[in-house]
Every structure is written in structure tokens, then in C-alpha cells.
């Protein structure tokens, strides 16, 4: 890996890690789209800072954008608090208005000068190694690396410092307020942090990657764990992995690196969505199947008489299961020694009867075929036995 590739991956990873730290809280607070809203709404702040300072100085733009980020959150809260709008609608009306204002300001006052949206909102990570910070004659390395590194350290230290406060206000606002934790203050702290992260990151990597990194890795991590601390570590790890493999993906296809990183985070999310140990699709499906099988086993045992056997044909008629299912279920029970094959059917073993009785179920007195259907199941009772 060349030096410039290393810089790109490092910048991407730092952005991913910073975003994961604050994004996890956004996802847990069900405010994932506030990150998206902020990343668009900071535009007028950048333009105003640009117009006032008259140049693309990073510091003034950071201040302008952060102020607008906090203003966005404030306006969203304000319109939500009036109870005239729902939360999603509040977000949906505030950020486009601010964004529109930003575009308007650019086209009215800044179009003649060197400020176009490409460099402000869609900064390209591929240029990161080229823009080098110098101090006198001394080259200090890429500017983006310093900026994103600073944002990461800021996030890391503040999240560590206020971990307890963030945790309790995220999960139980009422309790936090009762205990004197000032949820509103913590909320605005988090939102300022999101604003700083968005602004500090998208100049070097572009807005779309920031939004992806704020939402996708934390969501993926959320599917893997129930613990906040684990969630944070996982989110950072998945974010960094997205940056690294996304870079490789983009290189292979010779396409946008930021796009590649976003896509990679999506693929990682897809993997978690499908294969997460407890909440993944596969795990759900397996659990569902296991439950179904256990239910079938219990049903089958409940239908067998205490003495004597029940013919395969009758069983087939009774259950109408898919072909082969009855035999498969019977085989599983047989392996456990609870049923055994009779001459032309199936019967309970002594162990099987004991099992049923231990679970509070009475095996049938008479063979199934001799009683009408309603009666035969009535003896089994509604509660299934647990083997």
C-alpha cells in the first residue's frame, strides 16, 4: 500500500471512527436522520462564514457550520415542541429550508468567488494526501489527517468523559432528569459533537460518506449486541473495516472512494442483517424452524396412545404434513428413545410416556383411530409438553 493510499485509508478510518462514536447514540435515540439533516443544513453556516471571513479558512467554516448544526437541532426541537408537527416532519421541513437558504446565498453572493458546492459538500477523499499542512518550511503531513484526527480525539475524549451521562439520557430520559443529569444539556452536547464531526469530516471525505458512517456501522453493530460499550467498539470496528475494504473496492473498480466506503458499509450491514447471531435473518429463521420442529414433535407424541401403536397411514391422515416430515420427526424422537417403530406404525416407549407425564400430559387411553377427532385431541390438553 502506497503512502497516499495509507493516508486515504487513515483519513477514512478516522472519519468512520468519529462518526461511529456519535452515530451510535443517534441510532439508539432513534434520531439517525438528524445526522443527515445536519450535514445538509450546515451549508448556509459555511457560506455565511465564508462571506464574513472572505476565505476558505477551516476554523471560521467550522464555527459557522457548527453553529448552524446546533441551530438545526434547535429548530427541529422547536417545531416539534409546538406539537403542531411530528418529529419526522420537523426534520423534513427544517433541513431543506436551511439548505435552500444556503444554495440561495451561494448563488446570490458567492457564485463569483471560489466557493462551489463540490468542494464544500462533496470534498473528495482522494485529494486528501495532496493537501499538505505546512508550518514554515516544515511539512506536517496531510491537513485532512490533522483535522479528522482532531475530531476523532475530541469525540473520543468527550464520549469517554460523559459516557455515563450519555448512556443514562439515551436510555431513560425521565430517570436522567430525576437524577439531575440535565438531559437537554447532554442532548445539545451530543448534537454539537455531531455537527463538529459532520463539518470536520465532510470537507475531506464528502457529506454522503459522513451520513453513511453516522448511521450504517452503528446500525449494524446494534444488531450484534445489547451492550452500549460493546456497541461502540463494534461500530468503530465496522466503520474502520468499511473504510479499508471500501477503499480496496473503489480501487478495483476505479470509482469514487467515498462511494466505495459507503457501499462497503452497506455490505457489512447486509452481512450483519443476515447473519447476526441473535437478531440476524438466518438466526431468526433457524429459531423459527427449531420451534416448529419442537412443536411437531410434541404434537406427534401427544397423538400416540399409551399402549399399543398408531399406524403410519392414520398419522399421515391426521397431520397432513409435507411428505417426509412425519418420518423425519419420528426419527428424531426415536433417536432420543421416546418413540419406537411398531409393526406398521409408531408407539411410545416407556421413557416417552414418562416424559409426557413429567410434563403434565396424559397419553391417550385408546388408539387414535377409534375415537372421533374432537375427543382424541381433547385428552391432549392445550398446553404442549416440553421434552
Amino acid at each position: 500500500m502506497s503512502a497516499s493510499a495509507l493516508v486515504i485509508v487513515a483519513v477514512g478510518s478516522l472519519v468512520a471512527a468519529s462518526c461511529a462514536l456519535v452515530g451510535s447514540f443517534l441510532v439508539l435515540r432513534k434520531m439517525a436522520l438528524l445526522g443527515d439533516a445536519i450535514s445538509h443544513a450546515v451549508l448556509p453556516g459555511i457560506v455565511i462564514a465564508f462571506l464574513i471571513s472572505g476565505g476558505r479558512s477551516t476554523v471560521s467554516m467550522m464555527i459557522g457550520a457548527t453553529a448552524l448544526g446546533v441551530l438545526t437541532v434547535f429548530l427541529v426541537e422547536l417545531s416539534y415542541r409546538t406539537r403542531r408537527l411530528k418529529e419526522d416532519a420537523s426534520i423534513g421541513v427544517v433541513f431543506p429550508a436551511l439548505f435552500a437558504l444556503g444554495v440561495l446565498l451561494i448563488s446570490r453572493y458567492a457564485s463569483a468567488v471560489d466557493l462551489d458546492l463540490d468542494c464544500v459538500l462533496y470534498g473528495e477523499i482522494a485529494y486528501a494526501p495532496l493537501d499538505v499542512l505546512t508550518w514554515g518550511d516544515l511539512s506536517l503531513g496531510p491537513r485532512a489527517l490533522w483535522l479528522t484526527g482532531f475530531v476523532f480525539l475530541l469525540n473520543l475524549s468527550l464520549v469517554t468523559l460523559f459516557y455515563k451521562e450519555l448512556k443514562i439520557t439515551t436510555f431513560d430520559t425521565q430517570l436522567a432528569a430525576t437524577l439531575g443529569f440535565a438531559p437537554t444539556l447532554v442532548h445539545y452536547l451530543l448534537m454539537s459533537l455531531v455537527s463538529v464531526t459532520v463539518v470536520g469530516s465532510f470537507e475531506s471525505v464528502g457529506a454522503i460518506l459522513v451520513v453513511a458512517m453516522l448511521v450504517v456501522p452503528p446500525s449494524a453493530a446494534y444488531l450484534l449486541t445489547q451492550r452500549l460499550s460493546t456497541l461502540l467498539f463494534l461500530a468503530v470496528g465496522l466503520g474502520v473495516a468499511s473504510a479499508l475494504f471500501g477503499y480496496l473496492l473503489a480501487r478495483t473498480l476505479d470509482a469514487s472512494i467515498a462511494g466505495g466506503m459507503a457501499v462497503m458499509s452497506g455490505l457489512i450491514f447486509l452481512a450483519c442483517f443476515c447473519f447476526a447471531p441473535r437478531h440476524g435473518l438466518l438466526a431468526r429463521w433457524l429459531r423459527h424452524r427449531r420451534l416448529g420442529r419442537r412443536l411437531a414433535e410434541q404434537l406427534l407424541m401427544l397423538h400416540l396412545p399409551k399402549a399399543g401403536e398408531l399406524g403410519w397411514e392414520l398419522l399421515d391422515q391426521r397431520f397432513r404434513w409435507a411428505p417426509g416430515r412425519l418420518r423425519a420427526i419420528a426419527r428424531r424422537l426415536q433417536e432420543r428413545g421416546w418413540v419406537e417403530p411398531g409393526e406398521a406404525g409408531l408407539r411410545l416407549t416407556a421413557e416417552g410416556v414418562r416424559r409426557l407425564e413429567a410434563a403434565g400430559q396424559q397419553p391417550l387411553r385408546h388408539p387414535l383411530g377409534e375415537a372421533p377427532l374432537g375427543d382424541s385431541t381433547a385428552g391432549a390438553g392445550p398446553a404442549p409438553a416440553s421434552p
Binding site: L33, R84, V93, S107, V216, L223, I257, A262
Partner: protein, 463 residues
Amino acid sequence: MDLSFFASLLDGSLFGSFLGASSFGGIEWSFTLRNVLLGTTLLGVVGGVLGCFTLLRRESLLGDALAHAALPGVCIAYLITGAKSSGPLFLGALVAGVVGALTILVVVRWSKLVTDAAIGIVLSVFFGLGIMLLTYIQKLPLGNQSGLDKYLFGQAATLMPQDVQLMALLGAAVLVLLALFFKELKLLTFDREYAASLGMPVLRLEVLMTLLLVAVVVVGLSTVGAVLMVATLVTPAAAARQWTDRLGWMLVLAALIGGGSGMVGALASASVDRLPTGPVVVLVASALLTLSITLAPRRGLLWSRLRYLRMVRRIRRENLLKDLWNFGERRGDEPGQRVPWTYVMGLRGLTGGRVEATARALEQEGLVRRGERDLRLTTSGIAAAQAMVRKHRLWEVYLTRKLELAEDHVHRDADVMEHALTPAAVAQLEEVLGYPTLDPHGRPIPPARGELVSTAPISGGAA
């Protein structure tokens, strides 16, 4: 169907001026202006109507996701067909939008994530894919995303008659759908489970609505762009919501507000130099929303604030009446005796000015007579005050007898309820309690005011 916009997305050489720099000196009725005007107005109408449903279903930000999700569709359609003809590209955008909507549904249905996060995931990942494909297609030096700003900001100035026709077609489709299934859509919006239990084709209607939504969003891309599309859907609907509680009227109003903002946006950007269409449309709609939230009758913030202030003032007047009466009772004298200002001043933690204003208002109603150093109740003032005390003490009796609260715990609650009890409630209370004559503290409950002196209702100045 010829949306040249989608073809121009892929064309790196066409560096679009998203600012829509159509510099007319004053409004000039040109071919372009006609298209832009019709296009933005139609988009506003259709977006406003469909936006009502997404707003009420709390899926306001779905439009944002769909708008961003369409980009990879354009690119994939190009990669498959290899031609920059607009039809397939438009179709690609539609398909990608639908896939995006489905993905959101699947993620919400099969994971513990909520809609908000699902929208964020689809939005950013699909858009990231779109950017990747776009750069891959352009095979230009890294970072040249020239088609992208057009996608994000739209190009109202390049609207073609075909685009306008397509929007009209969409509008007609929405109208037909509404005319045929208004009842079903209404029920679906407010109570999905109930609609399903009645055997309505819930899923099919939802698919149909989502398809229309995707179509509007994709068409809107060429006018206002991906970012502002969400406002085209949400803002007019949110504004319309403030004026009415009926879905039918809300749809009409949203169409008017959306169409109006579209029209104003197009005209403003045509008449003023360097004024982009999309942002003006959104800002006009946002201004209308702000107006609606403040000024709409009943729901308007201004009116509810006024109602609140009026109530506060009424309660202050009622409290002062009661305080004056209590002063008289405590002295064992007749209730109309002179009460020194110094007594009432410190009583309720109000500033002196507030107390004086309250007393002045009561004097205007003929309930109080103000003097240099003291004030007293007039005859009708006594009756009004007695009515208040009566409500207070009756409520205290109710709390101790029926709710079995301790005698020393009921005063505070009665202090609140005395301002809220209606004459009918008081009558019922008396009946339930068997016409008590003493309150829990052993003080007499004054008789109904009619038995003493007839007075005007105290709430004369209040609503």
C-alpha cells in the same frame, strides 16, 4: 417520455449550472418559462397531495431516501442499455426507488431497527453506490462528479415539454386514484389494521401509493433536485395540516400551497437575476408553513398563546375576588368591607402592577370599587366572589367525602378546580354531595348566587 435530464446526469462534459441562471430582465413569457412554471406548479400540486399521506403516516423522510436511492438506478440502466436515451434511465430510477422503498420495509420488518435508521441506511448506501457507478461510468479523473450537482439540485431551467407532460400524467393518475379509492386511502392512512380487517386491498393500495410516490420523486429530481425533494413533499402537507382536521380539505390545501409555492418560485427566479428555482420554491413553502403554524385558526400558536393569556388574566381576576371576600369573612364582618391594598399586594406573588391591572379590570366590570388606600367588593362583586368560594368549598367536600383525601390536602386542588368548574358541574356536584352547607374545615358554603343577588357572570371579559 423524454427526460433529457437523466441523460445529462451521465454526461461529464455538460457541466450544468444548477443555479438555473436563466437571467431574464423582468419576466419574459418565453417557452422556457412556460415549461418551468407549469413543471414546478404541477410538481407542487402532486407532491403536496402525496405528501399528505406520507406526513400522516409519519414517513415524511421516505421521500429523502427515495430521491437519493434513484441515482444507482440511472447508472445501472445506462450500463445495461449502453445508451443515454432518457426512457430507460428514467425507468432505472423508478426501479431503484422501488427497491429502496422495499429495502426500508424489509429492514424495519425483520430487524430491531426503526424506520428512521432504515431510511438513513438506504439513503446513504444507495447514494454511495450511485456515486461509485457514476464515477465508474464517467471514467474521468477521480473526483469529477459534474453530473452530481445536477442530480442533487435539479435543473428547472432545462425542463422540457415532455417533462411537463409526464408530470401532468402523474397528476392525473393521482387524481384518478384519489377519486376511486378516497375512502380506502383515508382508512389506510389512519387505521391500517382496521382497513385490513375490513378486507380492503391494503397491500395493493400501499404498493400503488409507493409507486406513485417514487414516480413523483424521480420526476421531481429534474426540477428541485434530491435534497429539496423532501421539502416538496413534506412542507406543503405540514402547512395544510394546520388549517383543517379533515383529510379532504387538507389534500386541497396542500395542492394549493404546493402549487402556489411552485408558481411563485418559477416566477421569482425568472424575474430576478441569479435566483435558483428549487430553493425559492422550498423557501416560499417554508414561509407559508411558518405562517400556518402561527396564524392558522384554532391550531395557530398565536391564538393558543392569546387564549392562554386570557385564561391567566381571568384566573387572576377570580382569585382577587375570592381574596377580597375571604378577607371579609375572616373578619367576621360583611364581605363588602374595605380591604387595604397592602393586604392584596403581597398575597399571590404578583407584581403590584399586575394586581392593580386586575383590580382595574374588575372595576370596569362593576365588581370592585377602588379607593385611594383600599378597595372593596360591590354587591355584584360579592355575588361573583361567593360563586367562586362556593365552587372551591364544594370541591373540597367532594375530595374529602368521595375520594377520601385528608382535609389538609384538598385546598391546593380546589384552588385549581374552582376556575374550571362549569355551572352544570357545580349543580351535579351539589346533588351528588346532598347539598352540603359546610366545607371540610367547618366553614359555610355560600348559597348559589341567584339566591343572594343576581349578577352578571364573572367571565364577562374572558372568552
